[in-house]
């Protein structure tokens, strides 16, 4: 992947909402409301993104190049004209990987301090 390490690391640590949105877009292109629902499901209802949080995150992520608006929409009967679909970019995927690695290192450190279960 052609993205320099520093360009990726500039975005770390990721805001929580941003990371969740990236995870949710990893599997498929989705529109706004679907993202809210998906995040809520994955977290067992712990994280309910508000419309403002979602779209402000999307706005910033578009600018940062983490996601793009999908040109082609999935063929679906229930598709609504207004709805916009978003797709993760290669760069966004790099950043998400880097964030996951960062969190992993953090958890390992926590284990060695006895703050978390498992082997250090």
């Amino acid at each position: 992947m052609g993205h320099t390490k520093s360009a990726v690391e500039k975005h770390l640590p990721l805001p929580l909402a941003t990371f969740h949105i990236l995870m949710c877009l990893a599997g498929a292109e989705r529109h706004g409301y679907a993202i809210i629902q998906d995040v809520a499901e994955r977290t067992g209802g712990d994280l309910q993104l508000s419309a403002g949080t979602l779209y402000r995150s999307i706005h910033r992520m578009l600018e940062q190049g983490l996601i793009v608006e999908a040109r082609r929409r999935p063929a679906s009967i229930r598709d609504d004209e207004r709805r916009r679909y978003y797709r993760i970019t290669a760069f966004g995927s790099d950043v998400a990987h880097a964030e996951a690695a960062r969190l992993q290192r953090l958890v390992q450190l926590a284990r060695s301090s006895g703050f978390a279960q498992g082997r250090a």
Binding site: H31, G32, Y33, I36, S50, A51, G52, T53, L54, Y55, R56, I58, H59, D80, R82, R83, R84
Partner: protein
């Protein structure tokens, strides 16, 4: 849903356009799933909170972007940025500076409790709208008037303070014991006067002003309880007032309780008390005024001679601002606004020109998806950024101008002069800055925004677009007109100052040194004691090398304008009718000689005019014209200040009240012809010394001489008579300097405006000029064409400005001292200057246009 959409307007337009629909859809979805009223409420609350929570950071994001962009684009045009910042700094600085003065005088409440209920009450006998009050009338008011919660009298006083270092003369007031508590100010140390404690039988007490406490008591907290000597009387210090307490005026050093002698308590012709009262809560000024007139009607009936046609006037304390001060400040506000207007139009013009040059940039941004609102927002960010920097520089300028501007607050008001730019002024500057930024940014932003939206990427047409050109021309006309108004206004003031300066004061100030030795009571209560002091001082002073003559008088002219007494002729003994008054001065022999006042008839006061001789008077020419027209006054008699006086001489008139003011006729009496302990206030105290050499070099010797005559006697106000005359026009000088600065700024800015417009037009029309030249037009023809354009704009501006200037001159009438508002010299000068400015501003761009290289321009085309 419409309500939700309305809330979305809190977001920046771009964000709303991009995501508004979807957010509405999300909201609709959530709303649909809510099953009962509680859930609906929860959804709504969450949605509103959500919008508000994100709106601020989104706006900040946009602002950050705009600022970054602004800094980049200004960095590319440093000359433009510097010009705009300088011009807006001048406009904002001028307004902020004037505001420091107007705020103090007009807006800020006086530093007393509920200042709106405080009123001054004056007698108003025929010919005077406000006259001090006589003690018996004041006492009758106290018992008769019902409109007031409290009423108090005071009289300005001064005293020799002895025992705190060198003897000094200090100023203050004798006040009714209730006065200080009526003003509602707490003492810094100690207590206020109390009607129960500070009665006449008790030990005399004094309260110190903060300034005196700092200066002569070293800010010693143990000053309380100390005994000080004021005019040979012992007083116990019972209090110190806070720094901001200035009453009745800025120069007050101390307060003692008012003592009214039994003689004064009966005399309704001795008007020397000033009266302050506090209106009852539900009593209006008009009601109090009505009641006081009724009271005076009763008092006229009871004392028909002394109170003949006498009335009373009630004024709010805060409104007692001298008319000239008021007028001047209004004029300065107008002038500073005009400067700001010119600055704004100038910058708007610069921005329009720049906007034209930036059309492509805007078009590119527009085609890249920036909405019109986004572009306008960007332009406003630019102009507000420039205005903000300009405003900061402007506040610094205003701060630098404070020493000059604080002199616009007259010391006769109980108001401290501005010493720093405070929060109120900063707030004002902030508002002005905001308005300025919007003001000069609005036109260009709207215009550029519209054009960008319409033009898209289409190649922009050359030339500015006819409408923009016309708009810019209008702005230049406004600038010229405003600068003409300011030129006329300051021109009128210059002419008035010249006129005042050329007024003959009636005496010869050159080579005269003056000093004040205010003798203290009761030590100098007897006329003999005073005469002895004068003789010892004057004999030694006259013996000094170079001294030609020296004399004492009650008050030098221009220093004290009052001391006005009714003149009673033989036929109408005891009545006080309109304008039958004259100023009273006691003098020692040779006073007219020392002052250079021409003796026109008869003789001077002499040492032989003692208390046991007939009481004589020397009168001024206007006195004779009024009371003994076409007669030889010598030998005539009149009653004045309790006694019959016989005229022995006539002198030329003197401007007692000031160079600009009508003065009452003057009466000079022999310093010996006054009963012991009578007319204390008028005891001679001002020394005038005419010398051939350098007058100021005599100062140390004068101090020595007075010390030898009386070691406890302070010498104050050692200064040249010429400086006293100059002081009389000092406030005019300040006015002129401030207004003149504004006019200069306006003039300069208007010239820049014309120059800028024509330069830009020349660049825009380079191709047209090339064509004209190719078709045979010569250079001088092209130059003339541009010059003509500039001159036409200038003429239109001058025409409008002249009409407005006439209006401004009319409004300033009271400041003009006899110069008509249509003064031809001023108008001619202002018009000529403006035309010169127009030509000078137009010439460089005209010449540049004429030197366009036709060949190369055509090749480019």
């Amino acid at each position: 849903m419409w309500l939700y959409r309305l809330f979305l307007y809190l977001y920046p337009a771009g964000f709303r356009a991009e995501y508004g629909e979807e957010m509405t859809a999300v909201f609709a979805e959530k709303r649909r799933r809510a099953r009962n009223i509680f859930q609906v409420t929860a959804v709504w609350m969450e949605a509103v909170y959500d919008i508000i929570r994100h709106a601020v950071p989104l706006h900040l994001d946009a602002l950050r972007q705009d600022l970054r962009y602004t800094l980049r684009s200004l960095h590319r045009a440093p000359g433009f940025a510097a010009t705009v910042i300088l011009v807006s700094a001048l406009g904002i600085g001028a307004n902020t500076a004037v505001f420091t003065a107007t705020d103090r005088v007009f807006l800020r409440p006086l530093p007393f409790a509920e200042p709106n209920r405080l009123v001054r009450i004056w007698e108003s006998p025929p010919g005077y709208s406000r006259m001090e009050v006589s003690p018996p009338n004041y006492h009758d008011w106290l018992t008769m008037a019902t409109s007031f919660d409290g009423m108090a009298a005071y009289a300005r006083s001064s005293a020799n303070l002895v025992g705190q270092g060198d003897p000094v003369r200090i100023q203050g007031a004798e006040v009714s014991p209730v006065l200080l508590s009526m003003l509602g100010v707490q003492p810094l140390l100690g207590r206020l006067f109390s009607p129960d404690i500070d009665v006449e039988s008790a030990a005399r007490t004094v309260i110190l002003a903060y300034s005196l406490w700092q200066r002569d008591f070293g800010a010693d907290p143990n000053a309380l309880g100390r005994t000080v000597t004021l005019d040979d009387q012992s007083y116990v210090v019972v209090g110190v007032m806070p720094r901001e307490f200035l009453f009745p005026d800025r120069n007050s050093d101390y307060w003692t309780t008012l003592q009214i002698s039994p003689g004064n308590a009966q005399d309704r012709n001795n008007n020397y008390l000033e009266v302050l009262a506090r209106l009852k809560p539900r009593v209006s000024l008009a009601m109090a005024q009505r009641e006081m007139r009724q009271v005076m009607t009763h008092l006229e009936a009871a004392h028909p001679v002394e109170n003949e046609r006498n009335s009373a006037s009630v004024n709010r304390l805060g409104d007692e601002i001298p008319r000239q001060t008021r007028l001047l400040l209004v004029a300065l506000m107008g002038a500073s606004l005009a400067v700001l207007l010119i600055a704004c139009t100038n910058i708007a013009n610069l921005l329009l020109a720049r906007g034209m040059a930036r059309r492509r940039e805007m078009a590119v941004r527009s085609s890249l998806g920036a909405g019109r609102e986004r572009l306008v927002r960007q332009l406003f960010t630019e102009s507000l950024t420039l205005a903000a920097v300009g405003g900061a520089v402007g506040v610094v300028l205003a701060h630098a101008a404070l020493p000059l501007l604080s002199r616009l607050v007259p010391p006769s008001l109980p108001i401290a002069p501005a010493t720093s730019v405070d929060l109120r002024v900063l707030l004002f500057a902030l508002v002005v800055t905001g308005l300025t930024g919007m003001g000069f940014g609005a036109l260009p932003a709207v215009r550029v925004g519209r054009e960008a939206a319409a033009a898209g990427l289409r190649e922009s047409s050359r030339g500015g677009g006819l409408r923009t050109q016309r708009l810019r021309a209008t702005l230049v006309v406004i600038e010229v007109a405003a600068s003409v108004v300011l030129l006329i206004a300051s021109g009128l003031l210059i002419r008035a100052l010249m006129e005042v300066r050329s007024t003959d004061p009636g005496f010869q100030p050159q080579g005269v040194l003056t000093a004040r030795t205010w003798l203290s009571w009761p030590r100098y209560a007897t006329t003999d004691a005073r005469s002895d002091f004068y003789r010892r001082v004057l004999t030694e002073v006259r013996a000094l090398p170079g001294v030609q003559s020296a004399a004492y008088t009650s008050f030098l002219p221009l220093v004290m304008g009052g001391g006005i007494w009714p003149v009673e002729m033989d036929t109408r003994t005891g009545t006080r009718a309109q304008n039958e008054t004259a100023s009273l001065r006691f003098v020692t022999p040779a006073y007219f000689d020392a002052m250079g006042i021409p003796m026109l008839r008869g003789r001077d006061v002499s040492d032989a005019d003692a208390a046991d001789r007939p009481f004589i008077a020397v009168v001024s020419q206007s006195f004779v014209e009024r009371y003994f027209p076409n007669q030889d006054p010598v030998g005539r008699t009149f009653r004045f200040a309790y006694f019959e006086r016989i005229i022995v001489g006539m002198v030329d008139d003197v401007h007692v009240r000031g160079l600009e003011r009508e003065s009452e006729p003057q009466v000079y009496l022999s310093h010996q012809q006054v009963p012991d302990d009578g007319l204390v206030f008028y005891a001679p105290k001002d020394l005038a010394i005419r010398t051939a050499g350098d007058p100021l070099s005599l100062a140390p010797q004068i101090r020595d001489i007075v010390r030898r005559a009386d070691p406890a006697q302070p010498v104050s106000n050692l200064r040249l008579l010429g400086d006293i005359v100059a002081q009389d026009t000092a406030s005019r000088n300040v006015q002129l300097r401030v207004l003149g600065t504004f006019a200069g700024l306006a003039f300069f800015l208007a010239a820049v405006g014309i120059h800028g417009l024509l330069s830009f037009t020349a660049t825009q029309r380079a191709r047209e000029i090339g064509v004209r030249m190719a078709l045979g037009a010569n250079k001088s023809g092209i130059a003339a064409m541009f010059l003509r354009e500039g001159i036409v704009l200038g003429l239109v501006g001058v025409a409008i400005g002249t009409v407005l200037g006439y209006g401004a001159g009319n409004a300033m009438g009271a400041l003009l001292f006899g110069i008509g508002p249509l003064d031809p010299v001023t108008f001619g000068g202002a018009i000529a200057l403006s035309l010169v400015m127009t030509v000078v501003g137009s010439l460089p761009p005209a010449l540049r246009a004429a030197n366009v290289d036709a060949q190369s321009v055509m090749r480019e085309a």
